[in-house]
């Protein structure tokens, strides 16, 4: 399983043809206390870069983009009841969606951990 990152601070972890997606710890820290997460319907087809979810902090709503193209096959329902889970474990149990990949080659253009860390250091 490899994890890749986007410049919009989403992560995507691939196992077989299923990509688990979320926002990075950096993004969660920047947002502050998450109070609401709006997740897509199962079965929705998204293209890379589409708005796939919304995360709301006390102050503002932010879009979450699909890091890769695919079909939404699962969403993290636990976040509906406990949105603070995003702050507590953004890159593990705070995942947002699972996508069935339609174009695995898209992953190649995303950053690995070292590249993402270097990207963060430059912000």
């Amino acid at each position: 399983m490899s994890t890749k990152y986007t410049k919009d601070h989403e992560w995507v972890s691939v196992s077989g043809n299923i990509a688990t997606c979320g926002i990075t710890a950096y993004a969660a820290e920047q947002l502050g206390d998450v109070v609401f997460v709006e997740l897509p319907n199962i079965g929705r087809i998204v293209s890379q870069g589409d708005e796939v979810a919304v995360v709301e902090s006390v102050k503002a709503a932010s879009d979450v983009y699909a890091p890769v193209s695919g079909e939404v096959v699962d969403v993290n329902e636990a976040l509906a009841e406990a949105p603070e889970g995003v702050n507590e474990a953004a890159e593990t149990t705070g995942w947002f969606t699972k996508l069935k990949l339609t174009d695995p080659a898209e992953l190649d253009a995303l950053m690995d951990r070292a590249a993402y860390d270097a990207y963060l250091a430059g912000l």
Partner: protein
């Protein structure tokens, strides 16, 4: 990280940066929106203990009568008469040491700003008024006040000093640092106190719904004062993010959002800021519209809103009746940490303003069911006189 050098700083900017404050541009100033603990914890801390806020971006000022031959009540009557030409507030009727919340209406009854005006307590200070106006409006407000008093009174800005809000149930314990005087103040009273930090103006007021004080203090004394307070057990520095969620829970208007040049004080639910004597005289800007709305009720009204589900609605969200017709708009919306859920305020047509009315708020193109709720969302905890 580069910061916009055109932004103004306050006497406390360096302290906030050193404490890890997340600095953002606000009304032309570089201000801390939150500290490392975050908005939620900062908000709750203020409701339970005591939060300290830098509000030095706001516009404190003193207006002093030029005619030094007038003293005491005569001097106050003279200065009051000047500003009552632009304010609907009973300034003449202020007791020594009393502060009032008021609006600056335009000729058509809209609101140019909301502000505080106070009459000093000391005999020697009669003929002077204390103002605190909003940061984003201060150039406009000071110009209007100065023009209304041209040749008769002189406005001296005090926004080169620091203005520090100390808010929450433990604020009264914290404020002992500047002397015992402030503890004797009741809500909406103020006094000039001389103590270890020189001459400071302390008012028992604020914009969080909690008991608390606002302290106007010399720039070179501000950091020492703040450090002393922050060293005590119950006081933490709080950013503007929590200030906004606290005021929204308290049902208080934020200028430029819940109040603007098209909104009348009556629509905003601020009729109580226009005292009987001023209604009878009907001699302030916008009186025609404002008094007509008082007599006949306004077409729309500011209301509180609570959701049936958990999705916040933000400023600008359309409000529809259950038939799908637009009946209003959200002017402030967010999450209320003490309420434990989303809260909003907005303006709706009068027929939909009753508490309990169900409405749809349009969030990301989807209608979501909300209910008109009483304001404030969290009871005020002021230290009222008597």
């Amino acid at each position: 990280m580069s910061e916009d050098t055109s932004l103004k700083t306050t006497p406390l900017t360096g302290l906030w940066q050193g404490m890890g404050g997340r600095m953002v541009p606000f009304a032309g100033y570089l201000m801390p929106v939150q500290f490392p603990e975050g908005v939620m914890k900062e908000h709750v801390w203020t409701r339970e203990k005591c939060g300290l806020f830098d509000v030095s971006h706001m516009g404190p000022a003193f207006l002093k009568l030029n005619d030094a031959s007038l003293t005491g009540d005569a001097a106050h009557a003279a200065i009051a008469a000047l500003v009552e030409t632009i304010l609907p507030c009973d300034v003449a009727g202020l007791a020594p040491g009393q502060l009032r919340y008021t609006t600056l209406p335009n000729a058509t009854g809209g609101v140019l700003d909301d502000l505080f005006v106070g009459r000093p307590k000391a005999d020697a200070d009669q003929g002077t008024l204390y103002f605190v106006v909003n940061a984003g409006c201060k150039e406009q407000d000071f110009a209007i006040i100065a023009a209304a008093c041209a040749g008769k009174a002189t406005l001296t800005r005090a926004d080169d000093r620091a203005l520090i809000a100390v808010q929450g149930p433990k604020a009264v314990d914290a404020i002992g640092n500047v002397g015992d005087g402030p503890k004797r103040l009741a809500f909406m009273e103020f006094a000039t106190v001389t103590g270890p930090y020189g001459e400071v103006v302390v008012s028992r007021s604020g914009y969080t719904g909690e008991d608390g004080f606002e302290v106007l203090i010399a720039a070179d004394k501000a950091e020492a004062f703040v450090r002393t307070l922050l060293a005590t057990a119950h006081v933490k520095a709080i950013g503007l993010g929590a200030r906004d969620s606290l005021r929204l829970e308290a049902g208080l208007c934020l200028y430029g959002h819940d109040l603007d040049e098209t909104t009348s004080p009556i629509e905003a639910g601020l009729a109580w800021t226009i005292q009987k004597v001023r209604r009878e005289r009907a001699d302030f800007p916008g009186a025609a519209r404002i008094l007509k709305e008082l007599a006949e009720k306004p077409a729309r009204k500011r209301v509180g809103l609570l959701p049936k589900d958990k999705a916040p609605a933000r400023e600008g969200a359309e409000i529809r009746n259950l038939a799908g017709e637009k009946v209003g708009i959200v002017t402030s919306g967010g999450y209320g940490p003490s309420v434990g859920g989303p809260i909003a305020m907005g303006y709706v047509e009068l027929a939909f303003a009753a508490v309990g009315t169900e409405l749809d708020l349009i969030v990301r193109d989807q209608p979501r069911r909300w209910v008109v709720a009483p304001l404030p969302f969290v009871p005020h905890n002021y230290h009222r006189k008597g």
